[in-house]
Amino acid sequence: MIPFDYHRATDVEDAVRTAAARPDAAYLAGGTNLVDHLRLGITSPGLLVDVSRLPFDDIDRLADGGVRVGAGVRNSDLAAHPAIRRDYPMLAAALLAGASWQLRNLATTGGNLLQRTRCAYFQNPATPCNKREPGSGCSALAGWQRHHAILGASEHCVAVHPSDMAVPLAALDATVRITGPGGNRGVPLTAFHRLPGDEPQRDTVLDHGELITAVDLPRMPPTTRSAYRKVRDRASYAFALVSVAATLTVTDGVVRDARIALGGVAHKPWRATRAEETLRGAAARAESFRAAAEAELAEAEPLPGSAFKTTMVREALVSVLTGLAEGRPR
């Protein structure tokens, strides 16, 4: 047996206090990622603090019309919730596009945000990886790059974040609610995940001991159309090659507001702010959408093996926006 201690948290304070006291502690929720990593030898925490029984499994309406999703809400429950399906259909779509039924039944909202990259070199302890073992080198830089980043990567890491769910959350301006040893804080989802820089071992801005308790979704204007488009190698049970989450508000043929996030292209769900700025006030037609996509991808720096993603995500984004403008989601 891999030797580790186990503590079932009785409440949030207990969880945070216990984890904060042990530098080698990790939180355990659905376990769909962490347990794999324990088996594969990717990580070996000395203490697992089980937060799966904490009362974080509610989905509540907020006073401002938004929704608070408990960190323990299972992916399948979140996708099926009437308020999510009605008000945030692209979030439901993204959840259902991820993993498999079995995994979605276990995986939690907080855990989904914290899932680690699927980079095949990270997944294999026999190959060097700066994220798994800082300073050991990045095997992907001269290796298999089909699933790697085209935006925001560094010479130390070219991994991408694998979550589908996090992509619409980035577009929706969701906020991650966190409780830590120093108290509570909220972090915009777009600032929650990090770019790799020279610390690729750090996926997020969470400090040790901090625990996600909820994700807040702001109110969606009823006139806004949204869509999630995932491009993948097979029809189900495959990580995104690229994905697009977008909302579009158009009046009189002019784009009033657009919120766009891209998946499969960076170390974090990539909020396409340049594309959004380009679109605001532009005519809602294909030329504008293409210009917006080009603007966002101007600084793309793909590896030879991931070069196709620049074309793929551009075409997917143009297609999604065109579909939204024409009222026929693609």
Binding site: M1, I2, P3, R39, L40, G41, R118, A120, Y121, Q123, N124, A126, T127, S139, A142, G143, W144, R146, V231, R232, D233, R234, A235, S236, Y237, A238, F239, L241, F308, T311, M312, E315, A316, V318, S319, R330
Partner: protein, 705 residues
Amino acid sequence: MTGTPPTREPGHESGRPRERLDGPAKVAGRAPYAYEQPAEDPLFLFPVRSTIARGRVLWVDTEEAAAVPGVVAVLTHLNAPRLASRDDLELWVLQDDEVRHHGQFVGAVIAGTPEVARWAASLVRVEYQREWHDVVLRADHPERYRPDHVNPSFDTDTSLGDVDEALADAAATVDQTYRTPVQHHVPMEPHTTVVRWPGPADLGAVAMYDSNQGVSPIRKVLAPLLGLDPDQVWIHSPHVGGAFGSKASPKAHHVLTALAAHLVPGRPVKCALTRQQMFANAGHRTPTIQRVRLGADRRGRLTAIAHDVVEHTARFKEFAEQTAVATRTMYAADNRRTTHRLVPLDVPAPVIMRAPGEAPGMFALECAMDELAVALGMDPVELRIRNEPDADPESGLPFSTRHLVRCLREGADRFGWADRPPAGQGRRDGDWLVGFGVAASTYPLFPQQGSSARIRALPGGRRQVEIAASDLGTGTWTALTQIAADALAVPAEAVDLVIGDSALPSTVGAGGSSGLSIWGTTVVAAARAFRDRFGDDPPAGAEEVGELPENTAVGRYALHAFGAQFAEVRVDAVTGEIRVPRMVGIFDVGRVINPRTARSQLIGGMTMGLSMALHEESVVDPRFGHVVNGDYAEYHIPTNADVGDIDVSWLDEPDPLYNPMGSKGIGEIGIVGTAAAVANAVWHATGVRVRDVPITPDRLLGRLR
């Protein structure tokens, strides 16, 4: 089926769509697979594997691992029991310090629980002396050589007439190179074995519960390696969760577990490879580089066919996939040649996998035929029909039966081929580009030798039929019972079939799509002998053994199954994503014993062909020498959502010459041709010809109209 009274007239089992006799037990979890067999006080083995592709083990530090509570022993090449034969270096496990491929077993931990074994294995420190390695197949590789024969015993090269001259004179030619990648079998049930040495007194020196394709052939190889007679080794393998060639021959984990068991006398040692380990320790299919040249006259009659193959083998063990062999049989042409060349690399040993030879080879030939049809401006179905040979083109032997033309014509009708838009002008449906593709398929009927079966009369008119056959999930339990019922002139309900045990009369393993043919022929022979001796009212306890008779058709006839596959493909013009909403397969496979299980096998085969076309690729990292995408998340096979409607059917044409049932083989022909049909449909939909599988979205992106 004990206790079930006879309910049907005998003699009509063959052709009846019986439900699986083993189905209820499997659904209820009462059909034990190897790892689930009862084992008293077992120990668990977890391997330590090399992290280099070639070199030597300088030293191994087992101290930390051995100190873990629950660890019983740590096995390395320094303390492993000695093996008796060095003939097969894949099985020369822990006998020397050489590392021959990445992921090779260099040690193992035996412990009281699988978790402790795994954890302790991660604590074994191995220091290597690394040597230069090469895992990359290139057509012009300097070490390329010509093997003496290709699997199992086909000529390496063949040549008739003058291909170059015929190509120079041809009205239309194709000269293209097609590539297929390394592929892995990935059966759902991993390779598992449970070994006790010595076994229980009544079972032999070594007793094994094992997941394999044939207890007799596995035992024949393992016993002498362990310094034993075959009779001293007992292997039990009644249920197998998929194999696809990877469990046909012994693998290193068998030897590793046996060596471990020898260290802990009398205690069962259990080993189940992890999914990740299966990508280095359970066999694979070689990548292929295939140049195909075709020449034809103006009317589409082939004048030249050349198929030149370069593929890899392990440096330490030769396996030559018979990639171009099917090309020798498919089409008439006066000038023809086939060649196979091997490149020895520092890779694990390749092995037979899902239509070895035919699957990659027919992908190339049947794509080339499609390209020739385009060059000639001819319908690809018609082009194939025009090149139907009167006899086997290279041997000159008459075919036992060959109904390829009927498969093509009737398949085209079933599919609606006539609605196909003109070549290169597929339909458009919104963002989807829609295309149709066709390919032909063939699979040889392998003659085999050395098979026997025993019939025993039980009280109450029942018959026990004993043969060391196997059921890989394919339907042997059911179909062989049906054959036995007809041969014994009793209802199927009165037959107790016993298979999957080396104490039974010895026979061949499942492989080459010939299992049911060989076992069925043997059972029919045993039944005849039994009835000749005892009549149809034998006393309980009456017993007769029968042997597989010599196949008199071999050498006088060309023996092959045939088929035609059709595919509709939809390609997303925006993203390059590919979907296959429907396929049609129609086959000339002789008489079908059980239409229900046969249909499943043919659908499964076509699904594997679809998988080859769109999904499967083991990505090898040249720097480390390992498979990078070695798990189910990254090594893609189709999910249910990827498999559309698959319509399979067969001609009702018994083959009177190959075996007494009139059947051919059905296990693999569904795979053959399907990948080419899909690739040809992708071309038809998009105008993009992809000659390397898998055809992934990035290969089409940016090239779509």
